[in-house]
Symmetry: C2
Subunit: 255 residues, 2 copies
DNA sequence: CGGCTATTTGAGTCTAGTCAAAGCCTGTGG
DNA sequence: CCACAGGCTTTGACTAGACTCAAATAGCCG
């Protein structure tokens, strides 16, 4: 038997679906219905093998505002977001904070760590996630090397994002940063209607801490983009992009 | 067996050390004497298995100033630096540039890519490197999963570095950026004598493009650190750190 | 309707950028 | 050995974009 072109001889014959216990089967079904089933890590395994991941997953709910990863703590777990959204950030001693990323459904959290986490993570919406013990996940990936390969792909993608963010933080002006962000967020949440308003789950303060700006500057820049007719800013954290071409041009996003 | 293709079935039994051809053996010996032998990727395999990597490596010399990776080009290769140093960067259309990292001996280049490179790479010193075709390297890693694991470790480490750089670019002042850089460079090149002057292979302009500043600001900040007695700046791109504690305090580097 | 938080707007300041010029190395050739 | 050319670096004067401080406005939820 091969999965993803890799020889897995014997593995499927040792643990057959019929041998899965009731609890495991129940969670496996939850797994198959999960919004994140066909994204990132979980998409690496076929339904037949999914129980290996499902059995390793510890499901939990995180309240809005709760910090579930703390910078400097021993990096014992990975996380996969199934519901909601969170911000990842690093702090300086005097309180200055840089948000290094926002994660949502299907995103994998915890790669940016050696023996200790290099970042903190806080839910900005109620979050449902699967926690994986690093040791346990390593055991699963020893059986399914495709998992390690997928993690590498995820890490590579995150590196690309990180470098684009360095370009943004190091070289772009305030208006370029905001425009880049909106255009990038639009592409991420691209669902159906290109004209549908974007849902921004984060506060202005989060946006500022992500873009290396202050709340006031973000607010002023959004007002300016609104006056230019590029976006429409609603009160309920929704922003409609009225002129994509102009937004992309301002944001210097030709990627 | 094919090398350059994907199928390597049975290769370990077909190609025994005794069966390695002269050229291959010669390069393997070069491999074992390589400055990068016990770092990063190459450290993943024991001497006994090293020839699998050695055979996949295409060695080449890159002149100072030569660009060997171009942003946007198809990402067909990985690179491992054996000698010299290079800068990795992204450009905006109007010429603004952000250097996303410097790489030296033992560093692995090319993870930050999907189907196309997200960055460009230019030698800032004469470089010797091993080029790996991604397909070929994948074939080797299919046989030695430890390689994929090592790549994941490398990517994780790069993510940590990238996040620290985002914190620097988004939240630190000019003097904090320069101090952070010097302290970080010191830790990287930590060889023996803590008082030995640091060798900075890059120009002031590179430093500025790495730190999100201008040449003039970098120069002014270095002058300020010199006047404060924190560093001694020599003309030949060498800088001695006179007061590590103070430098670390200024740079807010407590990691 | 209040009380609270989030956001917007305004006025003034400051850090780092821009423009300009001088100084300093390094290598070359007389 | 010295003069010169070129690029790199430093320093100075001024500017500008983003920050700080402050106040007004707008949502939200009891």
């Amino acid at each position: 038997m091969t999965v993803g072109g890799i020889d897995l001889s014997g593995s499927a014959t040792i643990v057959r679906p019929a041998a899965i216990n009731i609890l495991s089967r129940h969670e496996l079904e939850a797994c198959k219905r999960c919004d994140a089933r066909h994204q990132g890590l979980c998409d690496a395994l076929h339904d037949d093998d999914l129980h290996f991941l499902s059995d390793a997953a510890h499901r939990s709910a995180i309240a809005k505002g709760e910090v579930f990863v703390t910078e400097g703590n021993p990096a014992r777990n990975f996380f996969n977001i199934n519901q909601g959204a969170a911000k990842l950030y690093m702090d300086l001693a005097d309180g200055r904070r840089q948000i290094t990323g926002f994660v949502g459904v299907g995103d994998f959290v915890g790669l940016a760590a050696g023996t200790r986490y290099a970042f903190s993570a806080e839910a900005i919406e109620p979050v449902q996630l699967c926690r994986f013990d690093r040791i346990e996940l390593r055991a699963v990936s020893a059986r399914f090397p495709v998992i390690e390969r997928r993690l590498l792909e995820i890490a590579s993608h995150e590196l690309v994002i990180a470098q684009e963010q360095m370009l943004l933080l190091g070289r772009k002006t305030a208006i370029e940063r905001v425009a880049s962000f909106l255009e990038g967020w639009y592409r991420r949440t691209l669902c159906a209607d290109p004209g549908a308003p974007l849902d921004l789950p984060m506060l202005r303060g989060d946006l500022a801490e992500y873009l290396g700006l202050t709340i006031e500057t973000v607010s002023r820049v959004l007002a300016s983009l609104r006056r230019q007719g590029v976006v429409a800013v609603a009160a309920d954290h929704r922003i409609s992009i009225l002129d994509h071409a102009r937004l992309a041009a301002i944001g210097q996003t030709f990627a």
